[in-house]
């Protein structure tokens, strides 16, 4: 135990001595959290919409006003013909072009129906889909308004034949993407930082030759490993704390569940990540190699974590791979606890998986760390 304390003391000294590194450790994650959380939004807002109004009637104006009044849309300049509309779309000056045919109002009055042509830039299919839904909703509303205005019918005379759905959004009722993203990004930062630091730490001593010096001492493997990893474990928890404070203060992320549970889970999760870092360290000779391998796994972990893309929409084989991804369990966990207020019972499966992973990888890491070749 005394030996471990000597190592921990030395590691902390080295961490705090390197001022530039220290700045990187603390300032970068904070910046990343602030910037990424604002950038990684899937909100579909500021949709630029253009009209080609060949009708110029009351009805067409009602339609346009409705879009104008909606905060999700910003109406660009009025276009005159379909060719101009296509050009505009092509140049990327607008997201949507709506063409109102010249017999629009007449058709509405005479035949009780009219057609609108809507062109949407669908390079980003997901966004285009959402935009389409928004446009359709507004057109639906216009339907009603026009009916009232044109036919002079009173509202109670309109027979609403369609079924209205009133969605109610649970757990994130304002549909705020930041609420959804911030905890996930926090998970990434905690993981990246601790993985990179631990993967590089022991291999650095290999490079310097100090590891050989350590190996000639009667120190036990477990003493060295615990002494080495404990400081990063503490660092990981500090980063988590800073991140949670920012999440609350800056992004107002709800924290419905137990914060104690978050710390408990993170404590075990960090053991897993540090063990993995150690394992990488054991199998590499230089910091570059360690960094490269750590990045390789990190990219896979991030993309397959369910943070940016839902796991449910991945092919089955990819979904199976995500079962091995520690970040997946943490992202799932932190969203459940912070946003849904899940308790230990609900997150127990995640906890158990992470615990098993942690035991396995640390076993492997300790076993593969050799004082003697």
């Amino acid at each position: 135990m005394r030996t471990i304390l000597f190592i921990i003391q030395k590691e902390f000294k080295q961490i705090f001595r390197d001022k530039s590194m220290l700045r990187l450790i603390f300032i970068l994650p904070i910046l990343q959290l602030l910037i990424l959380s604002n950038a990684a939004t899937f909100d579909v807002k500021n949709i630029r919409i253009s009209f080609i109004d060949s009708d110029n009637s009351i009805s067409s104006r009602v339609l346009k006003d409705k879009f104008n009044a909606n905060s999700y849309f910003s109406v660009t300049k009025e276009l005159t013909n379909p060719k101009e509309g296509l050009d505009f779309l092509q140049k990327g000056s607008t997201d949507i072009v709506i063409e109102i045919p010249n017999q629009f109002e007449k058709m509405l009055q005479n035949e009780k129906k009219a057609e609108l042509q809507i062109q949407i830039n669908a390079i980003d299919a997901a966004t285009a889909g959402v935009q389409n839904v928004y446009v359709s909703q507004i057109v639906q509303q216009v339907n009603q308004d026009i009916a009232v205005k044109i036919y002079n019918t009173t509202e109670n005379q309109i027979i609403l034949s369609r079924i209205e759905t009133i969605p109610s959004f649970w757990y994130n009722n304002t549909l705020n993407y930041k609420t959804f993203m911030v905890p996930g990004i926090l998970v990434l930062l905690v993981t990246m930082l601790t993985l990179f630091l631990s993967a590089m730490n022991i291999v650095r001593e290999k490079e310097l030759g100090t590891l050989e010096q350590i190996n000639v001492t009667p120190i036990k493997k477990y003493q060295f490993i615990i002494g080495k990893l404990f400081p990063f474990w503490v660092l990981g928890l500090i980063i988590l704390s800073v991140g949670l404070v920012i999440s609350k203060v800056v992004f107002n992320v709800p924290m419905l569940g137990s914060i104690l549970l978050v710390y408990g889970f993170t404590s075990i999760y960090l053991l897993l990540i540090l063990g993995f870092g150690l394992y990488i360290s054991n199998h590499t000779e230089t910091q570059q190699q360690a960094m490269f391998i750590a990045w390789f796994f990190m990219v896979i972990f991030i993309l397959m974590s369910g943070l940016f893309t839902p796991i449910e929409s991945m092919p089955k084989w990819a979904q199976n791979i995500t079962l091995l991804n520690p970040i997946r369990y943490f992202v799932e966990f932190i969203r459940m606890v912070l946003l849904k207020g899940a308790g230990l019972k609900e997150v127990l499966p995640n906890l158990v998986v992470i615990l098993i992973f942690a035991i396995l990888i640390n076993g492997l890491a300790v076993w593969s760390y050799k004082k003697t070749n």
Binding site: T3, L5, K10, D18, L208, P218
Partner: protein
């Protein structure tokens, strides 16, 4: 000069062999070192001396053969061996980003010294090496000669029976080397056994006995005086060249 040597054998090596795949780096060497002896372990680059030394200090397992260091088997009791030996590698291996004091504390600590002992040892070191106020400077900022003296002293913190020095004076000027050898003599006089590898043949002359390794085999082992007589030359340098040339 040899009055510090006793007849007790502190290193006994028998048929020690190390293979890396098809390549045999150390080919069944046998020798012994007496307590208090300054034993020079010489050889050209790639002759296998570092490999042999790594087996003796317990960080490399022998492929076959036996080695007994400080009364313990290097293969089965490597932790016991490690408690009884000090080691200074050719690659300077203290922490550059820590101060002299912090390095002493750390290495003392992992050798199991108490804080009190560390304090005492530090005071002694400052006295012996005339470290003065550099104890608070970072090791990385010291000149190489200082670093080497410091590394030697640190390897002695836990008062080992044997200290292994792997090319301890590489890259420093003759005066600093001379000072370093004075430290070695002081330590040997206390009864510590010194096992040292070097490329400097003048240093070989300082040793009580010298072995010369060529191609994984010990080709010669005796006092420098006897070796010179045996090869009928005036200096260790010529002994070394003669041996190495014979092989080629």
């Amino acid at each position: 000069m040899v009055n510090h040597i006793s007849n007790e054998k502190v290193i006994e090596v028998e048929n020690l062999t190390k293979k890396f795949g098809d390549f045999t780096a150390v080919k069944g060497i046998s020798f012994h070192v007496n307590k208090g002896e300054i034993f020079g372990f010489l050889g050209a680059n790639g002759a296998g001396k570092t490999t042999a030394m790594k087996m003796l200090i317990g960080i490399s397992n022998p492929s076959s053969g036996n080695a007994n260091v400080a009364g313990f088997d290097v293969h089965t009791q490597s932790d016991e061996v490690k408690k009884s030996i000090g080691y200074m590698s050719q690659k300077f291996s203290m922490y550059d980003d820590l101060t002299v004091q912090e390095n002493i504390t750390f290495f003392g600590g992992i050798y199991g010294l108490s804080r009190k002992q560390i304090k005492k040892k530090t005071a002694e070191l400052i006295e012996e090496l005339q470290l003065g106020d550099i104890t608070k400077s970072r090791v990385g900022s010291l000149p190489l000669g200082w670093k080497q003296k410091l590394a030697f002293s640190v390897s002695l913190l836990h008062e080992p029976k044997i200290v292994f020095l792997d090319e301890p004076t590489g890259g420093v000027d003759p005066i600093t080397r001379r000072q370093f050898w004075e430290l070695i003599y002081t330590e040997a006089d206390k009864g510590t056994t010194i096992f040292v590898t070097t490329h400097y043949m003048d240093e070989a002359e300082y040793c009580d006995r010298v072995s010369i390794m060529v191609d994984g085999v010990i080709e010669a082992l005796d006092t420098p005086k006897n070796l010179k007589k045996q090869f009928d030359v005036d200096s260790m340098n010529e002994v070394f060249l003669k041996l190495a040339r014979n092989i080629e």
